[in-house]
């Protein structure tokens, strides 16, 4: 790489306005050939807008884009692909029922006459996967693959279309620590072979470990560019939010009281009727936080769904506040004083087409003071909304704004506000801060600890080890539908949890099925 070589990508003064918002305000940066350039920023900082401009999905109002020193106009994603840009979105654009090879060549099929030439396509795919260390099974159906492998398919798809510049949007959000390590290895081998990577993330530690340069965005502007060896997660966090942030949650020793949630030998099936929760027993006491760590897809979703009455229990029982709720309806459970922050914010927790005010009463609309008989009392709903928007710092132009038009962090605050606005005994929070900005994470974490200190029993499920470590008094690790161990927080080191999350216990060093639990 000579210093005279033009940068692979140069962006000069990009400005993009949306009605009422300046999403990108004079953004400039360069991406050198063979560089991993990370973009950090809270939700709404303008990262996605910028990437969508690069990928031709939005037209910039001002500014220019240069590729290899030549100014280009990118009108749509086809232009972007032709210019050697490849994008891996947060939600993968794969067809579940097609094979890996079919997905990769989709849209750029190699044909012989009217037929697909799968042999030649497969050759090309295996060659690419060897070259970059991206192992994929070309004949497997995408739906049968773990997310980490699906992501590799997405990257291969971009490489197959001769991408020179890869844009990875929050690629580690759904990966295990081990899968993330694999991804970083692949990223290093890509840049070693002259590709350039734009890496978008919220996770400070990752960015510090993988990036060559880090650009921090805030409110549509570049706050600064940092080099990893000159930065710490604290300095980056300050740049991101513009003030210093508490990365750990300050909390006192817990004062556990009586058992509020008592789950014994629970068996629950997943959507494909396979056993997902395999004989789980756990107890959560008033005034303590039990964290469930584990890689996603090890039964956590099914466990919390079953506790909340949203999924039938096959065997075992659930008691909440000394009442058996194994077969109770969701409303009955919620009326016992159970708050539930669901994993899927947009799909389950909110009605995106509804205004904030309606979402804030989604589970309480039918009772006093929001309804009298069958009549909905719009005034009290409005009052409640104004109160909660202020109290929970939901940033919105109006309480009538639809939930769908808010950022992830503010959407999550709506759910938290709604669930905490009624008297509760048990809080079940599933991935409470996934994909949201640091400021909102801090706020939600403090709210959860506040509930604990008020005597609420809290069950937190999170794929983020840092989150589980910061919030929990005890930590359970779930693997293949079982609880492998429950550790008191002080004994739970990242290393120990990481091994347990991979299914490796002290007694069973290999990845075998483990019965019972330790700790």
């Amino acid at each position: 790489m000579s210093a005279q070589q033009p940068p692979a990508l140069e962006v000069r003064n990009i400005t993009k306005r949306f009605p009422g918002v300046l999403a990108n305000d004079g953004i400039s940066f360069t991406l050198e050939k063979g560089e991993i350039h990370a973009f950090l920023g809270e939700n709404g900082a303008g990262k996605s807008t910028l990437m969508n401009i690069l990928y031709g999905l939005y037209a910039p109002d001002e500014g220019e884009i240069l590729i290899n020193g030549r100014p280009v106009t990118i009108r749509n994603s086809a232009d972007a692909i032709a210019l050697g840009l490849g994008m891996v979105h947060q939600e993968y654009a794969l067809v579940d029922t097609l094979t890996v090879a079919e997905n990769i060549m989709l849209g750029t099929e190699i044909v012989s006459g009217p037929l697909l030439d799968e042999r030649r396509a497969n050759q090309r795919i295996s060659q690419l996967s060897r070259e970059y260390g991206l192992q994929v099974p070309p004949d497997a159906l995408v739906q049968d693959l773990p997310v980490g492998v699906q992501q590799r398919v997405e990257i291969l798809k971009a490489l197959y279309r001769n991408a020179e510049i890869l844009i990875l949007d929050e690629p580690t959000a759904v990966l295990t620590p081990q899968e993330a390590e694999d991804l970083f290895r692949v990223m290093r081998s890509l840049v070693a072979r002259g590709k350039s990577i734009i890496f978008i993330s919220h996770k400070l530690k990752e960015v510090l470990s993988i990036a060559d340069r880090i650009t921090v965005l805030r409110r549509g502007r570049v706050v600064g560019t940092a080099l990893p060896h000159e930065s710490t997660d604290r300095t980056l966090a300050v740049m991101m939010v513009g003030r210093s942030v508490v990365l750990t949650v300050d909390k006192d020793e817990s004062q556990p009281g009586e058992v509020v949630l008592d789950v014994s030998n629970l068996v629950v099936l997943d959507d494909r009727q396979q056993v997902a929760v395999d004989g789980v027993s756990l107890q959560v006491r008033a005034g303590e936080v039990l964290g469930i760590a584990g890689v996603q897809g090890n039964g956590q979703t099914e466990l919390v769904d079953a506790i909340n009455g949203l999924r039938p229990v096959v065997d075992g029982r659930v008691c909440i506040a000394e009442q058996e709720t194994t077969t109770a309806a969701p409303r009955h459970i919620s009326e016992l004083g159970v708050a539930y922050i669901p994993e899927d914010r947009k799909g389950t927790g909110l009605v995106l087409a509804y205004p904030i005010a309606d979402n804030l009463v989604l589970s309480t609309y039918y009772r006093s003071p929001f309804a009298r008989g069958m009549r909905i009392l719009a005034n009290t709903i409005e009052e409640q909304a104004r109160k909660l928007v202020k109290e929970f710092d939901i940033r919105t132009p109006s309480i009538w704004t639809t939930a769908g038009s808010l950022s992830g962090g503010n959407q999550q605050k709506i759910i938290v506000a709604r669930e905490f606005s009624r008297p509760i005994k048990l809080l079940v929070a599933s991935q409470p801060t996934r994909g949201i900005d640091v400021g909102s994470i801090e706020f939600i974490h403090r709210s959860i600890i506040q509930q604990r200190d008020d005597g609420v029993a809290v069950l937190v499920v999170s794929a983020e080890l840092d989150e589980v470590l910061a919030l929990s008094d005890r930590i359970a690790v779930m693997y293949k539908g079982k609880i492998l161990a429950v550790l008191p927080q002080p004994e739970a080191t990242r290393e120990r949890l990481g091994l347990l999350m991979a299914g490796i216990t002290d007694e069973h060093p290999s990845e075998e099925k483990v019965n019972g639990s330790t700790g």
């Binding site: 005010a357 589970s363 609309y365 909905i376």
Partner: protein
């Protein structure tokens, strides 16, 4: 296909006005576009002996308008035509709100008419204040039950309501045929297959007009609310129109101001979130389809008790099917059903005069109606023609995929 999303529970007035304008814009332009294309069709199909092509186009639309709104009788006929459209359109709308596509309005309308007519002629000696409500309720309940069955099947077995309601249409048609062609409800003295005339006390009275001559009404004396022999006031508009307007208000209130409506709309907007919030999908599917069926049944009851006074085997001219178009045109807004239904009714009543004045086939109206539906359903076409940007979050899926 997509329709306008809900108006929030308690929006500000300015917010509501803006939302109303946005919601009305595309349907209004869809109608305009369809009429322009209709004009082009008239231009090319104009007969040579009626003046220049432009004159024919002008005369055709002038005739259409005069036929629908040109006189007191014309206006009354338009509103009479709009009455079943309002009720059945409302039926389809309510189902849309819950994410259900009720194609069974026609069959439910038949069941409602059959039940109302039966109560109307079999029971005698009741005062009107009891007999008429009884007959109306019978129609609503029968059709409500008829509609609830597909709702239940959908909730419990996943059988898609589009399929089952279509099936239930055919069952309803054949059932009605059985009862009034060969079955027990046929008037044996009549040469055509039909039921006997309803009791005068079960009629939905006309507002103004002459007494209907007893020799045409099977011996019953149907008395309007105000009796006059003035031929300018011989109009068919009946109490059913007011019932339809009342139904619009009730449904609007139910959907927007009650917990029941909140549940229906939430299940429609996001069933996952509804379940999470403790709402019962089954209950709301069944309830919504029952309500939808009841409204369609009222449409049938209105036709039977207010116009026909009996039930023939060929009873409805597709009011239940056209009501789907009206619900689309009104973008699932209960209030907007009224202008949409009147527009549809006006096309139907005005087309005769259009044909008489210009020799253009009244089938042209069917083409215009089809174009309106097309432009409303594929609203991107209209948005493209008139360069209207889509507001964020404006789209709503009103019927989901098969199964699930």
């Amino acid at each position: 296909m997509a329709v306008q999303v809900d108006v929030p529970l308690a929006p500000t007035r300015r917010h509501r006005a803006a939302a109303l304008f946005r919601a009305a814009l595309v349907p209004a332009l869809a109608i305009l576009t369809a009429l322009v294309i209709g004009a082009i069709i008239i231009w090319f199909s104009a007969p040579s002996n009626r003046g220049t092509r432009l004159e024919v186009v002008v005369a055709a639309y002038r005739g259409l308008f005069a036929g629908a709104f040109g006189s007191r009788v014309a206006i009354a006929n338009t509103l009479v035509e709009a009455t079943p459209y309002i009720l059945a359109g409302l039926a389809v709308t309510v189902a849309f709100k819950c994410g259900l596509f009720n194609i069974g309005a026609e069959g439910q309308l038949f069941m409602g008419a059959l039940a109302s007519t039966t109560v109307g002629f079999t029971i005698t000696g009741l005062p009107a204040i009891i007999h008429l409500p009884l007959a109306l309720i019978a129609g609503a309940v029968a059709a409500g039950l008829w509609g609830a069955i597909p709702g239940y099947l959908r909730a419990r077995t996943g059988a898609h309501e589009v399929i089952t309601t279509i099936m239930f249409n055919f069952i309803a048609f054949r059932l009605v045929d059985y009862f009034i062609v060969s079955g027990p409800l046929r008037d044996r003295r009549a040469s055509l297959p039909r039921t006997p005339f309803i009791q005068a006390n079960a009629q939905l009275p006309r507002f103004v007009g002459p007494l209907e001559p007893a020799n045409l009404t099977g011996g019953q004396e149907y008395r309007p609310l105000i009796v006059t022999t003035d031929p300018g006031w011989n109009i068919r508009l009946h109490l059913g129109f007011l019932i339809a307007l009342l139904a619009v208000w009730i449904i609007w209130w139910l959907l927007n101001r009650t917990t029941t409506g909140f549940e229906i709309r939430t299940v429609g907007a996001n069933p996952e979130a509804a379940r999470y919030a403790g709402m019962s999908i089954t209950k709301n599917f069944v309830l919504t389809m029952a309500l939808s069926g009841a409204l369609a049944g009222l449409a049938g009851a209105g036709q039977a008790l207010g116009l026909e006074r009996n039930m023939k085997s060929l009873f409805s001219s597709g009011y239940g099917f056209d009501s789907i178009a009206i619900a689309l045109l009104a973008r699932s807004n209960p209030i907007a059903i009224i202008p949409a239904a009147i527009f549809w009714g006006a096309l139907n009543t005005g087309k005769g005069e259009m044909q008489a004045l210009t020799g253009i086939s009244s089938d042209l109206i069917r083409i215009i109606q089809a174009l309106v539906i097309m432009f409303v359903a594929a609203d991107q076409i209209v948005r493209w023609i008139f360069r209207i940007r889509q507001a964020h979050g404006e789209q709503m899926v009103f019927s989901r995929g098969w199964g699930k």
